[in-house]
Symmetry: C2
Subunit: 234 residues, 2 copies
């Protein structure tokens, strides 16, 4: 490794990831416990420094694999945090934050890979985080809410086959709104990108419910025709 010392900056560049999961009416975020100095422990978003020859998005994937081994269904760049030059008190670090989604059925398979602890936290039970990670998370939640309403990313938080009631609850929970079941179902079905399967729900109680699948191909066809996904509420 050779450094060209002239005009080399003393700034580090990191990536951080907000990984969202959803299960039974709760939105979760994946956090890892980090050790600072000899005794301080803090929960933090998974992330770390970018390698010299590593694309940003690959850095995120690598860090997530190293630290948490979750499998993502969606990932997107969120925002780059570099206005607060002391967001990391040790050095100047600029962080490119990403947010990602995981399938709810994989939510329990959280392997504590390293000595470090990894844990899902309910969105309304987030502890004080390291650095400015509470701020990053706040922005991530805002973006998730917004994106849910104009792109069909809710399906990436659900298993491949899911109940309509789960989809409905997911929207209610994350957007913190009440929805009329009938209107919601009518609207989503009218789009025509959901497929009924022949399978039924593992019964919890009451009448068994059909499982549905999101047909991404169909969705893409619709997009090409100028279709615009949108979920809004009163």
């Amino acid at each position: 490794m050779t450094f060209n010392m002239e005009n080399l900056q003393n700034i580090r560049i990191a990536v951080d990831a907000i990984v969202f999961g959803y299960k039974s009416n709760d939105l979760y975020v994946l956090l890892i416990e980090q050790q600072f100095g000899s005794s301080d422990k803090y929960w933090a978003l998974p992330g770390g420094l970018v390698k010299d020859d590593e694309p940003l998005s690959e850095a995120v994937i690598r860090e997530l694999r190293e630290e948490t081994n979750v499998e993502l269904t969606f990932m997107e760049q969120l925002y780059t945090f570099g206005d607060d030059i002391r967001r990391d008190s040790r050095n100047r670090v600029i962080s490119v934050a990403y947010y990602a989604l995981v399938d709810a059925s994989n939510l329990e398979i959280k392997a504590d890979t390293d000595a470090e602890r990894v844990q899902w936290f309910k969105i309304d039970e987030i502890p004080p985080l390291a650095f400015d990670h509470n701020l990053i998370l706040k922005k991530g939640i805002e973006r998730l809410k917004a994106k849910l309403t104009y792109e069909p990313i809710g399906f990436d938080l659900l298993p491949d086959e899911f109940l309509f009631s789960d989809l409905e609850n997911l929207y209610c929970t994350i957007l913190e709104k009440e929805i009329d079941r009938r209107n919601f179902r009518k609207k989503i079905l009218s789009y025509g990108f959901l497929e009924e399967t022949d399978n039924f729900s593992p019964i919890r109680s009451g009448r068994p419910a059909k499982l549905f699948k999101f047909n991404k191909l169909k969705y893409n066809e619709l997009i090409d025709k100028g279709f615009h996904f949108e979920i809004k509420f009163a």
Copy 2:
């Protein structure tokens, strides 16, 4: 300046800015001419390396002042380009791109400050740019179009007092859509954040037109009440 050589990366971090201007049915972007090596010249987005103790957004403002001396009415982070590790062939550089708007009445006051040339280019007459700047610009245009439809940033491209027809043409031009004048006016006026002034247009020809102002205070009040700006077309 002290470097902590362990875990110091060999990655540079830059900011680049897309500055949009609008005038008589055309969207413009501000570009500067850069010299590479001894003979190659390329047009590029204004930008440069971030200083060690400088917030990202201040770096953008500084570069714009140094290179172009435009006065911005709006600025927002766009995206961070760091997946292509060879986007700059000399070194690895990650670029945090911003986009900004300027008031149309300041559009002509482009002072060629340095020896470098600075120029407004029509959006459909952009030359091949340095690095991946064509890509950045593409993303910026997409974002501008999207943002125009759900936030009132069109006013930041117009003078303080403007004609309704200019607003209408701005939307038609940038979104590349046709709009019904009557419906457009009705809708915008119904929002109630435009103020009629007592002034009239400098006449070009035909009937003189009233000048309007965007009342940002009123707009913010509406937002607090849950109002949601939106302009859509068939």
